[in-house]
Chain length 470, copies 2
């Protein structure tokens, strides 16, 4: 197949006076890459975006940046957080609140030096083509500082997208202070009460000089997130990738909640070692379906859940005794194994030996003939993830490959590992997103089932029982 | 297959004080419906959204509402515009500017009566379950009027989403006045100059009382579009469907531009009557590829285009002489004909007679075994449409079924008709979106090719030569 001679040019369209939004020309590596996907995701080859976080301490800036990076990685877009605090800490490991007083010239000089070091590293990172999107995580609380960053990025053809988190909800700020900041490296080994008090003083020092993004900066591309999810102001979004990041940020909320995951109960195809299909659950699968409501009640207590299943019988049958509203998603159907649908791994190895090997070599990217790859599944799951971010307590009953992809998003599992993760049958998984990690709990129902986990290189009969293209 | 017992409940989750965004429970009809799709699109069964347009005359409100309805119809979401002006015109067909003077009590009474009639019809429309999203198209320029609408909708459990178009760009307003308003039913048969002057006076009368949406209305769900695409303010978006509408509105621009569409040149599979595959273009296809740059130059002049192709050889070969940047999209690949890939229609009719008939009965929804339906294609084209809305001048070289879907979006072709449209080989199509319609021009290259158009019920050899699952 021919390749295009697409060379990256971005933002070269004429800009009409009445609509200053630039239109990017999407193309290049990112596209050639996306041949393996369902076609979502386009961006100029040479796009580099510096997302500049803006906001007082304890406004969730680091959390937002880290979530966005996790989301982008899941979509195979390379991104990285450059945390200015970490650069500052190499010089000043345990600063007191006075350090952050703007009338302290030594503190100001050191903080500026830390920002410069972070930006320099970021520029280097872009130049080495290590990624497309960098998050500059710092308060960036003055117009001068933001202008300096923008001009610095302009020099190297790096787009800037300012993301301000504004929050005046005292409860939210306090919970952020208590949950995050007292575990900060700045306060290692200190009394949490003393640390929280010092941190509140540090915030006061920033408040003195804080300037929100306003009309003076209307030439900037920015998003203001006001009380996370309540109100969003979007200014001069320039291209596809920016609009995707903004859409993700728009949908975030920070209400406490959990997500429960379960595979369907053991199916008749699991028993016969066939993949794909639309089989009923087995007798043991039926036992799991009947046990599931009790298991869920133990884990979720009185919390009202919503149940999402695929459109395939085995997930609907498994969820049918749960006393909650249920929703069927085509996007949660098992990975499509194409021409191999209904075969055992032994049959696939015999009939398509080269494919079988190719899949083991790069399982994430391998697309079954007439079917899907894990990469394809991630693309079709993207609206599910977006809806999960918008939602509260959800229990998903789905299939092995789908569960691996959803799990990989929340647990930040790299692509080379996610298709090989073991997700046993008859086990309820509870994920609880916290500030910097997602907590996990696994509750086995203690009802026997075949193992459907297949190790790399194996096609042994009873290790192979995956129910849908694993 | 079992169906779920999902009964619509919306917005019943507890609302935490620090994050007033409601999370909807997506389910129900819309979902059962979407079994035929790739799973995008979820919404509570009983969701009803009234999108209330807000803005002075000549701010593009009607245009925005009509585009959004077209987009939603294309996604199989029933929507309708209720234009208050049309209700008012039944009572007052040709009002002068004085009619719109707020100190004219008779005018005010009649305009209020028109708004009430439109809202009453809308409520009836929702009650008859005729659709999910209504657009109330009027200036709705005062807080009182907006509060009245919101309370009226609350009574019937209809969500409100206010969409304000604010614009202070005089050029944009004037072009809107000239292009749209002098063709308005209010000015039928009048001198355009006089009509434009009268219309400017009408705007002055609205300006006297106009109130933009502000902090007093922070409890409302709203979007403010400032100079279409420049800045967007989003407040309290509540659920998936609202967020989709908002994302679409965010991406609109109104710069003048055209979109060019072409099928690939005739392929070797076209000649042999096979569908699908990844064949090379034929000799005559090659002639078309060499003629295409000239054809494009005649139509586009000096305009700089960007070329989008699929990842299949026949589109890349066809586009290769065009002197523009090129971009390959997996999402533009031909409709996947699954197990029928590489067959002729005669073979399909023989091997899968029932499927062949089922496809004729409901071609839009028919999904090839292991392949796709037109409905599936629309879902995967959605990011393409979004990117087209964001872009300027694009030439797309793609396949028959894909072209039909893209064409249906711009030309508002209903689903029962779009899969049967004739889109000949070796013809360049130019679409130019205007205020209330899209203009079309077809330029045949006058290079012979087989016809790949297949009439309902036919499998005749030379009518059947579609190149990819038609």
């Amino acid at each position: 197949m021919e390749t295009t001679d697409a060379n990256g040019v971005n933002g070269t369209h004429p800009v009409h006076s009445f609509s200053p939004k630039l239109s990017s020309v999407p193309q290049g590596d990112f596209i050639r890459h996306s041949r393996k996907t369902n076609g979502s995701g386009v961006q100029a080859d040479d796009t580099r975006i510096c997302v500049v976080m803006v906001g007082l301490p304890a406004r969730g800036k680091s959390l937002i940046a880290q979530k966005a990076v996790r989301y982008l990685h899941w979509l195979s877009i390379k991104a990285k957080v450059f945390n200015v605090g970490q650069y500052r800490r190499t010089a000043t490991p345990n600063p007191s609140a006075e350090f952050f007083d703007t009338s302290n010239p030594e503190g100001e000089r050191l903080r500026r030096a830390a920002a410069e070091a972070a930006v320099a590293d970021m520029v280097k990172w872009f130049k080495e083509r290590q990624g497309l999107i960098a998050f500059l995580d710092a308060t960036n609380s003055t117009k001068d500082r933001r202008r300096w960053i923008q001009e610095r990025c302009d020099q190297d053809n790096i787009e800037t997208l300012f993301v301000e988190s504004k929050c005046d909800d005292e409860d939210l700020i306090m919970s952020n202070i208590l949950e995050v900041k007292t575990t900060s490296p700045d306060y290692v080994g200190q009394d949490p009460e003393v640390a929280a008090q010092d941190f509140r003083n540090r915030i006061r020092n920033y408040e003195k000089v804080y300037q929100t993004i306003d009309e003076d900066e209307s030439d900037l591309t920015y998003v203001k997130l006001i009380n996370v999810g309540h109100q969003v102001i979007i200014n001069r979004i320039q291209d596809y990738l920016q609009s995707r990041v903004v859409y993700y940020l728009m949908n975030l909320h920070i209400k406490p909640r959990s997500i429960w995951l379960s595979r369907h109960g053991e199916s008749n195809f699991n028993l016969s070692g066939q993949i794909g299909g639309d089989a009923d659950i087995s007798e043991r699968g039926e036992l799991y379906a009947r046990r599931l409501p009790e298991l869920v009640a133990q884990s979720a207590g009185d919390t009202k859940l919503t149940i999402w299943t695929s459109t395939l019988k085995r997930t609907i049958q498994t969820a049918r005794f749960l006393p909650f509203e249920k929703l069927e998603w085509k996007a949660l159907d098992e990975l499509d194994s194409g021409v191999c649908d209904g075969m055992t791994y032994g049959e696939i190895e015999e009939k398509y030996p080269e494919d079988f090997k190719a899949r083991d070599d790069d399982k994430y990217n391998y697309r079954y003939l007439g079917g899907e790859s894990y990469r394809d599944v991630v693309i079709r799951l993207e609206p599910i993830i977006m809806e999960l971010e918008r939602s509260e307590n959800i229990l998903i009953v789905t299939h092995q490959a789908i569960l691996r992809c959803i799990y990989a998003y929340f647990m930040n599992v790299p692509q080379e590992r996610s298709p090989w993760m073991e997700v046993p049958l008859h086990t309820l998984i509870k994920l609880t997103p916290k500030a910097y990690k997602t907590e996990e709990e696994r509750m086995p129902a203690k009802i026997p089932a075949v193992s459907t986990f297949r190790e790399k290189g194996s096609s042994a009969k009873h290790q192979e029982k995956e129910e849908g293209g694993d």
